[in-house]
C-alpha cells in the first residue's frame, strides 16, 4: 500500500491493487460492465480490463493472441523467450507445451486422488476449531481459513508443515508485492528458490511418496523435469493453492456471518451444501488471472499492443447480469450456475477439485462447531490486495458458551 496513487477514474486509470478495489470491487465492475466495458490503465506499463462474461471467456479461450507466460500483473513482465513454459508451469504455459505439463499434475489433483485427502483435511479443520473453543471472538481468516490449504499442500508436496509461515510470506510477496520496483520484486523471489532447492536436493537423494518426488520422476517432452522446472511447478502449487482457497473459505464465512438465513438453511439442509458451495464460489470467486498480448492488434475496438497486460476478472464475469439471473445476489440454492471461479478453457484451475473439497469440508466443520455467528467488527474486516481476493482480518463473534 502507499506505492501507488489512489484511483479516481476506473475506466481510464484503474489499479487492481487500489484500496477501493480491495474493499469492494463489485460496484466498480458493475459500472464498467454497463458503460465501458473494457477498461484501460497506463499503470504497470499498460493493462486492459474486460468486465463482461462474454469478453472474459473469449480472451481465456484465445491462446493465439494472448500468452500466459506471466499471470500476475506487476511492473515485471517475464521475457517472451520464457514462453511456452512460462514462470510457473503449467498455469504460465502456452500451447503446445501446456498440455504436457498439465498432464503431470492432473492425476494428482483428480477427484479420486483428492477424496483420499478428505479425512485428514476434516480432522485438521476440527483440530483448528478445537483450538478456538471457549473464545467468544475468533479470527476466521487468521485462526482458521489460512491454515487449511497450507497444511494440505505442504503435506501433498512433502514439505514441513512447520514452514507454513515461510510459504505464506513468499506467496504474499508474489501476489501483493506487485507495485515494488523490479529489483525488489525479483530479489524477493530468491529466498523461495533457495528454500525449494534445498528440499528438492533432499528429495533427489531420498525419494519418497510425495508430490515433489513424483514431479522429479515425471517426464515432459520425453525427458525428466530438471530441478529448476520442478521448483517452478512447486511455486505454482504454493501460490495457486494457498491464498486462493484461504480466500474462498474466508469469503464464504464472511457471507454466512452476515446472512443468518443462508446459515440456518445449510444447517437444516446439509444436502444443499454442494449447490451452496458453487454459489459461494460464483459470488466470491477469489481469482483474477492475467495474460500478455502477443502482438499489436485491434481487439473488439481496443488498440492492444504487444506486452500489454490483460486482466481476466473471473469474479466480474460471475456477476454479469447477461450471464446470471440475480447476478449480484447470493441465491444459496441456485441450481443453474455456469460460474467461472476456476477459470475457463485450457487453464482451468488444476487444483479445482482440491479447492472444492477443502471449501466444502472447512464450511461443514465450521458450521458443526459454530452454527451461530456474526461479524464482531464489520468495519475492521480487511481484504487482500491484487488478483486474489479474500478477507485477511475477519473477526467473528459467537454466542458465549454456557
Amino acid at each position: 500500500m502507499g506505492l501507488h496513487d489512489r484511483v479516481t477514474d476506473w475506466a481510464r486509470d484503474f489499479d487492481h491493487t487500489d484500496e477501493g478495489w480491495a474493499a469492494d470491487p463489485y460496484p466498480i465492475w458493475d459500472e464498467l460492465r454497463s458503460t465501458c466495458p473494457v477498461a484501460r490503465s497506463e499503470r504497470y506499463g499498460g493493462v486492459w480490463l474486460p468486465t463482461r462474461h462474454e469478453d472474459v471467456v473469449a480472451i481465456a479461450y484465445d491462446t493465439d493472441h494472448f500468452s500466459s507466460r506471466s499471470v500476475v500483473v506487476s511492473k515485471f513482465r517475464a521475457p517472451v523467450e520464457i514462453a511456452p513454459v512460462g514462470t510457473a508451469p503449467p498455469i504460465s504455459s502456452d500451447p503446445p507445451f501446456h498440455k504436457q505439463a498439465r498432464k503431470v499434475l492432473l492425476p494428482v489433483f483428480s477427484p479420486r486422488a483428492v477424496s483420499a485427502l478428505e479425512p485428514s483435511t476434516r480432522a485438521y479443520c476440527e483440530e483448528l476449531l478445537e483450538q478456538m473453543r471457549g473464545r467468544e471472538v475468533v479470527d476466521a481468516a487468521a485462526d482458521y481459513a489460512q491454515h487449511i490449504p497450507v497444511r494440505v499442500i505442504a503435506n501433498m508436496l512433502g514439505l514441513p508443515e512447520a514452514d507454513a509461515d515461510v510459504f505464506r510470506g513468499f506467496v504474499h510477496h508474489v501476489l501483493e508485492g506487485v507495485s515494488l520496483p523490479i529489483e525488489e520484486r525479483v530479489a524477493g523471489m530468491l529466498p523461495l528458490f533457495d528454500y525449494l532447492e534445498k528440499h528438492i536436493a533432499d528429495h533427489v537423494g531420498n525419494p519418497r511418496d510425495d508430490l515433489i518426488s513424483l514431479l522429479l520422476d515425471s517426464e515432459v517432452d520425453g525427458r525428466k523435469l530438471d530441478g529448476f522446472e520442478v521448483a517452478r511447478m512447486i511455486l505454482l502449487l504454493l501460490i495457486a493453492g494457498i491464498d486462493t482457497t484461504w480466500s474462498a473459505i474466508g469469503a464464504s464465512l464472511w457471507h454466512l456471518a452476515r446472512t443468518p438465513a443462508d446459515r440456518r438453511r445449510l444447517l437444516a439442509e446439509p444436502g444443499l451444501m454442494p449447490v451452496a458451495v458453487e454459489e459461494l464460489l460464483r459470488a466470491y470467486a477469489p481469482v483474477t488471472m492475467a495474460r500478455l498480448v502477443k502482438e499489436d492488434m485491434d481487439w473488439n475496438g481496443c488498440p492492444m499492443k504487444a506486452d500489454d497486460w490483460v486482466l481476466l476478472p473471473f469474479p466480474s464475469a460471475n456477476r454479469d447480469p447477461a450471464a446470471f439471473a440475480e447476478a449480484d445476489t447470493v441465491v444459496i440454492d441456485r441450481e443453474v450456475n455456469r460460474h467461472l471461479a476456476f477459470g475457463v478453457g485450457i487453464h482451468r484451475c488444476v487444483g479445482s477439485h482440491l479447492a472444492r473439497m477443502e471449501l466444502t469440508v472447512a464450511l461443514g466443520a465450521w458450521l458443526a462447531a459454530i452454527p451461530d455467528f456474526e461479524l464482531a467488527e464489520p468495519a475492521a474486516v480487511r481484504w487482500s490486495e491484487g488478483q486474489v481476493r479474500g478477507p485477511r482480518i475477519l473477526a467473528i463473534r459467537r454466542p458465549a458458551l454456557p
Binding site: P107, E335, G345
Partner: protein, 69 residues
C-alpha cells in the same frame, strides 16, 4: 414410441471442471485425469432427466449436450 435422451461429453471441449459428475453422479463419471464422461451409453432414465438438464446447463465449457433419438 418413447423419446430417448442420451447425454454426451465433447472430449475436445471438456477441461475437467467436474460439474457434470458432481451435478449428475448417476449419469457421469470422472476419468483418471478428472475429465467427465457419460456412464455406459449415456442413456438418461426418466428419473434423472432433471439432473441431465442441470449437467448441461452447468458445464462452464458447454461440453455437455443431449443427443436425442
Amino acid at each position: 414410441m418413447m423419446w430417448r435422451m442420451n447425454v454426451h461429453v465433447d472430449a475436445d471441449r471438456c477441461q475437467g471442471h467436474g460439474r457434470c459428475y458432481l451435478t449428475a453422479p448417476g449419469l457421469f463419471e470422472a476419468d483418471d485425469l478428472g475429465s467427465g464422461r457419460p456412464i455406459g451409453d449415456g442413456a438418461v432414465p426418466v428419473a434423472l432427466q432433471h439432473d441431465a438438464r442441470l449437467a448441461v446447463a452447468n458445464c462452464p465449457e458447454r461440453a455437455v449436450s443431449f443427443e436425442g433419438t
